[in-house]
Structure formats: structure tokens, C-alpha cells
């Protein structure tokens, strides 16, 4: 036995330490060195799943029915392994639309319905109350075992459990409601929860090792001894002495699978507090590993306790305390108690924060808004105050439930009742994420039916069995109608009460959800939210804005100030203006984009359903028809396409700059190297010096050509080039070009022939630019024709519409895969080793010139059979098409 003051002092010291961890993490976060931006911390925070129920209850279950404690852990393990992508989608949706609770999530999906939000909140609240009670019960019975004083009985004012409940409430208030954040993140709390996960794991492992190796000769010894006792031998098998009950295993596993995702506290740590979607990846294996570790010693401790105390000798749910105590290890017992305390506090803190957010946003705020609809009053402090009250009330109600029903029920049974309640969220939530046809009416019908059946088949019987209700309706049915007996509904028997309740409630829930949804097409608002949820990954960038109407900036500012407070509201608008590249807040256009943005921010503070309602009160909205939605979707995808184009243009520009840099540096390199070589070697042979000087001059020419062409290109592309409008005789122009390049061809030993009609109409274009094109094509041909046997043909043909010029050579031709590339900047043809000197800009510039005059340029080539570059120019150009 330990003295009560010592245990209480240790407990409070532990809570203070927890507070220290949270404070430290909050301070680090403010200093920009967040500790929770880490997949391990994320995984550990998910360990809040393991409550006092795990810590004490699973041993109790194992002691009474063997491996039956396992489904509660198999479920989450399966869920994590299977539902990684589901979780990522939930996180993305919640982040994108500032969703801060599971009620908000469901309500937002079905058209931001206040009714739905309130219903989900109510189910969560009622469902979670037994669970909170369970934590208090665990702490109370732990205290009883440890100190010998009895909690949970006697007058309420002397019950230590009440004070524990109040301490936890104060603690949670301090943790979770210090400031209002529109993303509803609590860094300090997450760090503290992760810390608690470590504490409870280590404490549990310590007890496990103590039992296995301190009291027995290892797990093998325990199992061998248990097998030798007829009363215990059944426990290590499935389903005890009866046959393996597959249906019940399935039900329990399914229940646990759903709970690990839909319990408000799991939603809080996994979705709301998630800082990086990629953390999910590690959690999908690390969290199951954590569960495995914390379950490793459940059966050995249970069997060890039964062997040690004998069956019925001590309450199995407190074996972790009574075993060390009975063996004089009081310090270890205290450690075990702290471990259990950490499991209980973790659950209570997160659950209370999650539920208080829901109650405040989805039950209280709507009422307040109805009562005080004058827009002048400042409500920014209200959510926090409401949450504080809700947290204290939740703990006190939990205490009440504990006093009322706690004694009658084992920990595990209480927990399962809660699990079954939150499982009701599954059809509406899962359906809403993957099925666009789900409607508000369907979700409401399903949830109501599921909740009603849960109450009838599980909650009321549990209350009745605690002695607070006449038990008659259980055995005979209400008014003697046997078909309505809660645990054998419509005569269904042969199932345990939990499987029975789950089967009926989920069946009715999912059935009604689908049937009612199918009965009527979604409204415009439902349809838009369905699109935003189901296709969240397709729409993260450039999300469509489904809103039409008129708003005034001042009113939106007023609204934001009212709910967020003056300073955050100012920041919101200033940030918005800055991101939009505006000079100041007053320049912001009160358009759909802004309305959407403000509403999303408000949703973070007061829930999306309330945000929708207050927004509707200050802006003039026009209802949307289904065809409007389609059009808006279309516009959004056009915006996205434009964005993509802009991005690729940016990339092209970068590529261009990088290519220009490279092309300019290359001749510079040669020039500098040769110049330095000559400078450092005054004795250099004249011949060598002459060769180097020649190369320097050549590279300098290449450099100036390059600079000219880059400038030329830039001018044309930016639209700053000057274009003259000359009257051109193409025959004369071709002759001029051929004459200018005659010397080059003579050097290569090539023959140039020209075929052209007698006379051609006059062309209106810039003569110098066209000459540039012709010279470029001719000099390219000159570079590629075989030395000594080159033949180049220039052909001019005309028709009524356009003139066409071809320059064909008998060079190596251009490989098919390069034929498009030669018109791109800095893509030179020919194989690199003996590539003729060029800038890689000639053809791109030529093509730009031709296109400027409304024509086009192309290449026809079969490898080995020469290349034929051709362009055509229309006689009359369409100015408006080519731009200028």
C-alpha cells in the first residue's frame, strides 16, 4: 500500500511535467522550431487511441475471455494498413476547407448543413460520455488498489475521483483553449500526447517484464503453467471453451477499424493536428507496431495475475497495480499507476478538446447567432469561453455517468458502447468522400436511424442493467412486444448484444443513407460540396469557387473582426492583399474569391456550417443552378490550364536564359584561354601564335553573331522589333541572296541552282528580314552539303494565295526525331563532333520572321537524301492574326 498523499503528489507532479512538455513545445513552435513536424511524433500522438481501457481493461478482458482483447487492436492495425489513402484524403480535405472536427467534416460535405453538424455533435457527445467516465473509473479504481481508499463511493464532496475530474478539466482548459486558431492546431498538446504515449508504453512494458521475468521464468513458463490449470487453459485459445465465434470477431474488428478513424480524438490528432500529409506514410506501419508493443504483455500479465492470485482472487483490470504491490514493488506499482494515468489523461484531454470544439461550433454558436443577430457585437471571445465551459461540463457529466453506471460495467463494455456510437459516422463520412450522389437528407436519415438503433439496442440496455431502468423491456419487449426487444430485435437472436446492435444500426444507417440519397438529386450546394470533397486531389490548385452574388469589403472586414478579433482579421485581409499583389487592403475586390477565402477562415474558427450562415447574412447571394456549377467547374479548369501554360512559359524562359549563358560562355572560354596562353608564353612560335589569333578572331565573330541574334530574337519575341513594309520582288530577292552567298558555296565546291517563274506578284513585307531568312537557309545548306559535290536547289513557286520558297540540299539530311527540334533555340543540327559553327538561333529567328508575315516554315527531309527547308508567305497577310 502507498499513502494517498504520495500517490496524489506523484500524479500532480506528472501532470505538471506534461504541462511543461506542452509549454516547451509551444515555445519552440513560436520560435519556428516546431517539434511536431516529425512523423514519429505524429505516430506517437495517434497512440492516444490506447486509453486507460487498453491499460487496464484489455487485461481484464484477456483474463475473462482470452484472446478476445485482440480485435480492438487488430482493427486499427488493419485500418492503418488499408486506409492510408483514405486518411490522406481526409487530411487534404480538412486542410483545404479548414475543417476542424468530424461534425464539421460531415456537415460541410452535405452543403454545410447546421442540422447535420448538430446531430453529429450530439451523437459524439452522447457516445463519448461513457468513454470519459471509463477513464475516471480507471483512475479511481487504480487509486483504490494503490492506496486502499475507496473512490467512487461515499458523499460526492469527499470523492477523490471528482477532484481528479476537475483537475483534468482545468488541465484541458489550459491546454486546448488558450487561443483561437483558425486551423485549430495545438502544438503543445500534440507534443504532450506523444510524450504520454511513450510514458504509458514504457510503464506497461516494465510491468510486463516484471511479471514475465520477475514473478515467473518468462512467458513460456506462464503459458505452460496456465495450460496445466483447467480453469485457465481455455484462455489462450479463440473464443474460450465455446467454438470460435467468427461473426463476433468480425464485428469487433470492424468496430475498432471504424473507431480508430472516427473517434473525435483520433480525428483530432490524425487529421486536424496533422502538419504534413507525408507523415501518414510512416504512421501506417509505425502505429500498428506501437499497438503490437503495447499488447505484447497483455496475455502474460492476465495469466500471470490469475496464476498468482487464483481465479477470482483479485480484479484482473488492476493486475498491473496489484501484482507489483503484492510482491513489495511499491515503486513499480506507482510507475504503473502513472502509466495508467497518462493513458487516461491523454484520452480525456484530446477528446474534450475535440468535443468542445464541436459543441461550441455546431451547437452553441448557431444558438448564439440566432439570439444575438445584431452584427455589431464582438463574438471573437465567445468560442473560447464556450469551449472552456463545455470541457468542464463534459468532465462533470463523465463523473456523473461514472457514479451512475460505472460500478455495473467493466471497462471494456463501456468502451465498446462508445465505439459503436462513433461507428455511425462511417456511412455518411465514407460515402461523402467517395460518392458524389450522397445528400444531406440521406446523411440525416442514416445518422438518425443508426443513432436511434444504437440507443435502443445498446445504450438503454446498459442503463437498465445498471439498475436505473426497469429491466422488463429487455426481457419482454416494450409493451410486451417481443419483436422489439432491444437485444433480440425482430427476433434476431444468437448474437452477442454488441454484434447485434452493430448489425442493426449500421444496416439501417447505410441503407437509409443510400436509399434516401438516391431518392432525390443533390441540390446545387450539395453538389458543389460533393465535388470539392470527392475530387479534392484534382482541385487543390485553382479550386473552383462556387459562389455568385455581391459583397462589400467593409462588411466582410466587420464580420471577420467580429468572429476572429480585430488583429487576426486585419492580418487576414492584409495577407490576402499581399498574395494578390495589391497595393493595400482597400484595393481588394469583394468577389467570389474573397468571400470564399473569408468564409474558409471563419469556418476554422466557428465551423463551416456557422460560417456559411453568417456569411449568407452579410452578402447578397444568388442561388446557383446545376448548369452554373458545371460552368464554374469549366472556368476553374480553364484557369488551371492557363496556369500550367504560364508555368511552362516561365520554365522555357529559364531554359532560354540558361542556354544563352552557356552559349555566350563557350566562345569566351576559348578567347580567354588562347589570350592567356599567348600572354604567358612570349616565346611562342609565330606559327602557333598566328593559329591562336585566328581562332580568337573566329570566336569573337561567333560571339558577336550570337549577341546580335539573341538581341534580335528577344526583340522579335517581345514584340519590340521594327517591321518595315517594303514592296518585294521575290525573284530579285532570291537572286540577291544567292549572289551574297556565292563565295561560301564556291569555297565548298557546291553548285546552287534557282528555279523560278518568269514573273511573280509583288509581296509586301520587310525586305531585310526576308533576306535574312534566305541567307540563313542558304548558309545552313552550305554548311551541310558534302564538300566538293554539293548541290543546292532554290525553288520559287506561286499560286493565287501564297508564294513558296524551297531550299533543298544533298547533305546528310535531318533524322526524323530531330526534325522538330531544329526550329527550337540552341538546337543545332548535325553531329556534334564536326558540327559547323552556328548559334542555334538562325532557324528559330527565321521561322519567327516568316510567321510574323502570316506564313509558315517547315522541313522535309529523309535521312541520307538531303534536307529541304521551305516557307510560304501569303500575298495578303492577316495583321490581326499575327499580332505585332
Amino acid at each position: 500500500m502507498l499513502s494517498a498523499p504520495l500517490v496524489l503528489a506523484a500524479s500532480f507532479a506528472y501532470l505538471l511535467m506534461l504541462f511543461g512538455v506542452a509549454h516547451w513545445a509551444d515555445r519552440r513552435a513560436r520560435a519556428g522550431r516546431s517539434v511536431i513536424g516529425n512523423a514519429w511524433v505524429y505516430t506517437l500522438s495517434m497512440g492516444v487511441y490506447c486509453t486507460a481501457w487498453t491499460y487496464f481493461g484489455s487485461i481484464g478482458r484477456a483474463a475473462s475471455s482470452g484472446l478476445w482483447f485482440l480485435p480492438i487492436y487488430l482493427g486499427p492495425t488493419l485500418a492503418m494498413l488499408l486506409a492510408g489513402s483514405l486518411l490522406r484524403k481526409m487530411i487534404r480535405i480538412a486542410r483545404t476547407y479548414r475543417i476542424t472536427s468530424i461534425a464539421d467534416f460531415i456537415a460541410s460535405r452535405y452543403g454545410k448543413s447546421r442540422t447535420l453538424a448538430a446531430l453529429v455533435t450530439l451523437i459524439a457527445l452522447v457516445g463519448i460520455l461513457p468513454y470519459v467516465a471509463l477513464q475516471l473509473k480507471a483512475i479511481a479504481s487504480g487509486l483504490t488498489v494503490l492506496t486502499g481508499t475507496h473512490g467512487g463511493s461515499g458523499p460526492w464532496w469527499s470523492d477523490s475521483t471528482l477532484y481528479i475530474a476537475l483537475a483534468l478539466a482545468g488541465f484541458t482548459v489550459a491546454f486546448g483553449t488558450r487561443h483561437l486558431d483558425t486551423s485549430e492546431r495545438h502544438e503543445g498538446m500534440v507534443a504532450a500526447i506523444a510524450f504520454e504515449s511513450v510514458v504509458k508504453l514504457l510503464a506497461f512494458l516494465a510491468i510486463g517484464m516484471f511479471v514475465c521475468w520477475g514473478l515467473f521464468d518468462g512467458p513460456g513458463d506462464i503459458f505452460a503453467r496456465a495450460a496445466a490449470q483447467p480453469a485457465l487453459s481455455g484462455l489462450s485459445g479463440l473464443g474460450g471453451e465455446s467454438k470460435f465465434a467468427g461473426g463476433q470477431w468480425f464485428a469487433l474488428t470492424l468496430l475498432a477499424m471504424l473507431s480508430v478513424i472516427f473517434l473525435p480524438r483520433q480525428f483530432q490528432v490524425m487529421v486536424v493536428e496533422n502538419v504534413d500529409e507525408r507523415h501518414v506514410q510512416r504512421a501506417t506501419w509505425a502505429f500498428p507496431a506501437y499497438l503490437l508493443l503495447i499488447n505484447l504483455f497483455v496475455l502474460p500479465i492476465a495469466l500471470g495475475g490469475l496464476l498468482h492470485f487464483g481465479v477470482g482472487g483479485a480484479d484482473p483490470e488492476t493486475f498491473v497495480l496489484s501484482l507489483p504491490l503484492a510482491n513489495g514493488q511499491s515503486l513499480l506499482a506507482l510507475v504503473a499507476f502513472i502509466g495508467g494515468l497518462s493513458a487516461a489523461t491523454g484520452m480525456v484531454i484530446v477528446e474534450a478538446i475535440a468535443v468542445s470544439t464541436m459543441v461550441s461550433n455546431d451547437l452553441v454558436m448557431p444558438l448564439l447567432l440566432r439570439l444575438r443577430h445584431r452584427a455589431s457585437s464582438d463574438l471573437s471571445g465567445v468560442p473560447l469561453a464556450v469551449r472552456r465551459v463545455v470541457i468542464v461540463a463534459l468532465l462533470l457529466l463523465g463523473y456523473l455517468y461514472f457514479r451512475v453506471a460505472g460500478e455495473a460495467y467493466a471497462l471494456v463494455s463501456i468502451g465498446l458502447i462508445s465505439f459503436a456510437a462513433v461507428a455511425q459516422f462511417a456511412p455518411a463520412l465514407l460515402g461523402g468522400m467517395y460518392w458524389k450522389g450522397g445528400t444531406r437528407a440521406g446523411a440525416l436519415a442514416g445518422l438518425l436511424a443508426g443513432f436511434a438503433l444504437w440507443s435502443w439496442t445498446l445504450l438503454l440496455p446498459s442503463i437498465a442493467k445498471s439498475g436505473w431502468l426497469a429491466i422488463g423491456f429487455l426481457t419482454d419487449g416494450p409493451f410486451g412486444i417481443a419483436l422489439l426487444r432491444p437485444e433480440q430485435l425482430l427476433g434476431l437472436s444468437g448474437l452477442d448484444s454488441l454484434t447485434h446492435a452493430l448489425l442493426w444500426s449500421l444496416l439501417a444507417n447505410a441503407g437509409l443513407y443510400v436509399a434516401v440519397s438516391l431518392a432525390r438529386a443533390p441540390s446545387a450546394r450539395e453538389a458543389t460540396q460533393a465535388l470539392l470533397f470527392v475530387d479534392v486531389f484534382q482541385r487543390s490548385a485553382g479550386a473552383p469557387v462556387f459562389w455568385r452574388g455581391r459583397a462589400r469589403l467593409a462588411e466582410l472586414q466587420q464580420l471577420a473582426t467580429r468572429f476572429l478579433g480585430a488583429e487576426p482579421a486585419q492580418r487576414l485581409f492584409a495577407d490576402y492583399a499581399r498574395r494578390a499583389g495589391l497595393a493595400g487592403v482597400e484595393r481588394i475586390a469583394p468577389d467570389a474569391q474573397l468571400v470564399q477565402h473569408v468564409e474558409t477562415q471563419l469556418a476554422g474558427a466557428i465551423g463551416s456550417a456557422s460560417a456559411r450562415a453568417v456569411m449568407a447574412s452579410v452578402v447578397e447571394e444568388e442561388p446557383l443552378a446545376p448548369e452554373d456549377i458545371l460552368r464554374m467547374l469549366d472556368e476553374a479548369s480553364q484557369v488551371r490550364a492557363l496556369n500550367r501554360q504560364l508555368e511552362s512559359l516561365d520554365r522555357l524562359k529559364d531554359d532560354f536564359m540558361s542556354s544563352v549563358t552557356h552559349e555566350l560562355r563557350t566562345p569566351l572560354t576559348s578567347i580567354r584561354a588562347f589570350a592567356e596562353l599567348m600572354r604567358d608564353d612570349p616565346e611562342m612560335a609565330t606559327e602557333q601564335r598566328q593559329q591562336f589569333l585566328g581562332l580568337v578572331v573566329g570566336e569573337a565573330e561567333r560571339l558577336s553573331r550570337l549577341v546580335n541574334q539573341v538581341l534580335d530574337m528577344a526583340k522579335i519575341e517581345s514584340g519590340h522589333a521594327e517591321w518595315r513594309n517594303d514592296q518585294i520582288d521575290l525573284c530579285e530577292l532570291i537572286a540577291h541572296a544567292v549572289q551574297t552567298t556565292a563565295e561560301v558555296f564556291r569555297e565548298r565546291g557546291a553548285v546552287v541552282s534557282v528555279q523560278q517563274p518568269e514573273s511573280v506578284p509583288t509581296l509586301h513585307a520587310d525586305r531585310d528580314r526576308l533576306l535574312q531568312v534566305l541567307l540563313n537557309l542558304l548558309s545552313n545548306a552550305a554548311k551541310f552539303v558534302p564538300a566538293g559535290s554539293g548541290r543546292v536547289e532554290v525553288r520559287l513557286t506561286v499560286d493565287a494565295r501564297a508564294a513558296q520558297v524551297e531550299v533543298a540540299d544533298n547533305g546528310p539530311g535531318v533524322p526524323v526525331d530531330q526534325q522538330q527540334l531544329v526550329f527550337e533555340k540552341f538546337r543545332q543540327g548535325g553531329d556534334a563532333a564536326n558540327r559547323p559553327q552556328g548559334t542555334g538561333l538562325g532557324l528559330p529567328i527565321s521561322r519567327q520572321i516568316v510567321e510574323h508575315f502570316g506564313g509558315r516554315m517547315w522541313l522535309r527531309s529523309e535521312p541520307g537524301r538531303g534536307a529541304c527547308f521551305a516557307f510560304e508567305l501569303p500575298w495578303t497577310r492577316q495583321q490581326e492574326e499575327t499580332g505585332a
Binding site: 540558361s658 552557356h662 572560354t669 580567354r672 584561354a673 553531329d831 563532333a833
Partner: protein, 123 residues
């Protein structure tokens, strides 16, 4: 200090200047004009040093460098990368690929000669 140096670059004039510089330093010089033939020459002759251009046809200098460093037998080959791209990311990429040194073009012939001496004396 008569070492064997391979010059891998596709710009004829840069090759001429590097060749002259290396010969003046007293090294035996061979030349490769694209990535694949540079790798082939390195595998075939195991030069003491490669002056490796980054932008080469067929196979970039980075790829050549990576292939050389993946080959245990070529561990003794020093690699000095030369590139007309001088951004920090390129330099970082060069050293990540296992280059012993990285110089940007245009380079100072004096600095290049010193760097080569340094690399070869360390061998």
C-alpha cells in the same frame, strides 16, 4: 611529372587550348569529343586525370562522372569538371557525382594548371 590527361569536350577550340595547356605542363594528352567516347577512353586507358565538360552530346559529363565513380577499377582517375553552367546547384551536383574539382568556364588557364597540378600531386 609526366601524367596522362584525357580532355573530354565537344568544343574544338576549347580542346585545342586545353591540349596546348596540358602539353605545356608536360602531360600526355588524349581527346574525346562526346560522353560515350570519353567513358570508353577512361575505361580503356585509365588516365590520371580527366578534364570533363558537363554539356556533351550523347552523355553528359555528370553521367560520365557517375559511371566512372561506380566502377571500382577506375577509383584512381581524378576528375575535374568544367562547365559553362556556374550555378551553385551545378557545382553541388558535380561534387555529388564524385568529381574531385569543379571549374566554371571561362576559366583562368593559370588556375586550371594549378588545380591540375594539385590533383595530380595528391594522387
Amino acid at each position: 611529372m609526366n601524367k596522362r590527361v584525357l580532355i573530354a569536350d565537344d568544343e574544338p577550340n576549347i580542346v585545342i587550348s586545353l591540349e596546348f595547356l596540358m602539353k605545356r605542363e608536360g602531360h600526355a594528352v588524349s581527346v574525346a569529343r562526346d560522353g560515350p567516347s570519353a567513358l570508353e577512353a577512361i575505361r580503356g586507358t585509365r588516365p590520371d586525370l580527366v578534364l570533363l565538360d558537363v554539356m556533351m552530346p550523347g552523355m553528359s559529363g555528370f553521367e560520365v562522372c557517375q559511371a566512372v565513380r561506380a566502377d571500382e577499377a577506375l577509383a584512381g582517375v581524378k576528375i575535374l569538371m568544367l562547365s559553362a553552367k556556374g550555378r551553385d546547384t551545378d557545382i553541388a551536383k558535380g561534387s555529388a557525382m564524385g568529381a574531385d574539382a569543379y571549374m566554371t568556364k571561362p576559366f583562368s588557364t593559370k588556375e586550371l594548371a594549378e588545380k591540375v597540378r594539385e590533383l595530380l600531386s595528391a594522387a
